[in-house]
Amino acid sequence: METFKREIATILTQLVGSKWAMHPPVQEVLKEYQHLEGAARTPTQTRRVSLQIFHASRAIDTFLGHIVTHESGKAGRPPRPPYSTLGNSLAYIKANGVGGSRFTPTTDIDLDEIRKDRNKYLHAANVFPIDGEIRRFLIRTATALREAATFPT
């Protein structure tokens, strides 16, 4: 199994350098990716690593949930959805934008694929991704986080 260390370290550095990093709720997102960076250093074939990579992607839910909460708190913006699931946050951003920005169509598709992959591997017993799937998942995760981090605060 590859370790994907550089990819994950780059996600983390970019997030720390984004304006969103100054918001307290985003600290949890950063901590999650610090755990993931630790896991990615382990060059092992164990299932733990692949599971941890998928599990850590819940940081996207938290990050997008925070972005939606922050946006909906601005005057005249629609209220946020009742639950901060990935699907709800995506639907809000698609419909309303964040400071005038939205995800590009390809990233929208990537986020949908992330959601599907997670359902496949986290909700089914004894099913594990191969290296290629993990790499694609990480690239999609990185693209989505990077784009979200460029949304105006």
Binding site: T10, R146, T150
Partner: protein, 306 residues
């Protein structure tokens, strides 16, 4: 300057050239540093790939990222280099040339520059417009449409010069076609860089439109292969980006499609094994139409039959 976080050799999957460092001097501030070590004098073909790095990192990480370029000419600064330094200084948020090979004074100067650096506000509009344009163009990509361009067995048969001869012969006697060699297209690169003279991009062939509302079709011919093509592709990326803009009343404006750029490829543009369409996606995202370099395809393009 107290560094909060420094990452050496970061990796952004979609960039054609990676920065050497990411620096986060404080939470919420990101600096990307590119280091260039040219062995020869700069030309448009070597300076514009650096500008492409700037476009890509701004689009990937956001307008507020501070992008620095550090240039270390291996054989010293040549007579014409200052023109390109002016271009790069006008676009990068921080730009420095070190021809004294890493002395301590220079390092201190760089650190001071980083600590005070801010993104250039006057270019925010360019990055924002380009982000929208790239998103719209990227929707045109499909693997099925471009599968032939990543076939590594298609090696270039002939050089670019021979290719141009062959292609020009193919259209020289075509009736109802007005072909112009070295077709000039304006761009804001001179104004953006604060250069006194006008600098045009030239395309190998341009076909004047038959109808007033059609943009001219402009063609570049390239011989590309799996390895060694990245700098050419970075140059072509910037070329397609910049011809889409102009200054209008002192404001930078997107000017639609002033030309229809077509890249006619001899060989292949396969990307790395885990992302073979990387270069195809990149070129399509900035507006290039891709075609194989053969006389029949050229006639098709010349007659506007895409």
């Amino acid at each position: 300057m107290r560094h909060h976080l420094i990452q050496k050799n970061p990796f952004f999957p979609e960039l054609l050239n990676q920065p050497e460092f990411l620096i986060v001097p404080e939470v919420g501030k990101l600096i990307a540093v590119f280091v260039y070590t040219p062995r020869e004098s700069l030309t448009w073909r070597t300076a514009l790939p650096m500008v492409e790095d700037l476009f890509e990192i701004k689009l990937a990480t956001g307008l507020s990222t501070i992008v620095a370029a550090l240039l270390i000419p291996i054989n010293g600064v040549s007579r014409h280099d200052p023109v390109y330094f002016q271009l790069l200084r006008g676009l990068f948020d921080v730009f420095a040339v070190n021809d004294g090979a890493g002395d301590a004074g220079f390092q201190q100067w760089m650190l001071d520059e980083f600590s005070q650096a801010e993104p250039r506000n006057r270019l925010f509009r360019l990055w924002a417009l380009e982000r929208e344009r790239v998103a719209a163009n990227s929707a045109k990509f499909s693997e099925q449409k471009y599968v032939e361009f990543i076939n590594q067995k298609m090696r270039p048969r002939i050089t670019r010069a021979a290719l141009m001869d062959e292609m020009q012969r193919a259209v020289v006697n075509e009736p109802a076609l007005e072909a112009v060699s070295d077709f000039p297209v304006s761009s804001p690169k001179d104004a953006l860089a604060g250069l006194d003279q006008r600098h045009f991009f030239t395309f190998d062939i341009g076909f004047r439109p038959r109808y007033p509302d059609e943009p001219p079709r402009v063609i570049d011919f390239v011989a590309l292969d799996r390895y060694g093509s990245r700098e050419k592709i970075r140059y072509l990326m910037t070329k397609a980006r910049l011809v889409s803009y102009a200054f209008d009343g002192g404001e930078l404006a997107y000017r639609g499609d002033p030309v229809k750029p077509v890249l006619m490829i001899e060989g292949n543009i396969s990307g790395p094994g885990h992302d073979p369409y990387r270069y195809v996606k990149a070129l399509v995202s900035v507006g290039w139409e891709l075609e194989h370099a053969d006389p029949m395809s050229l006639r098709k393009v010349a007659h506007g039959d895409f």
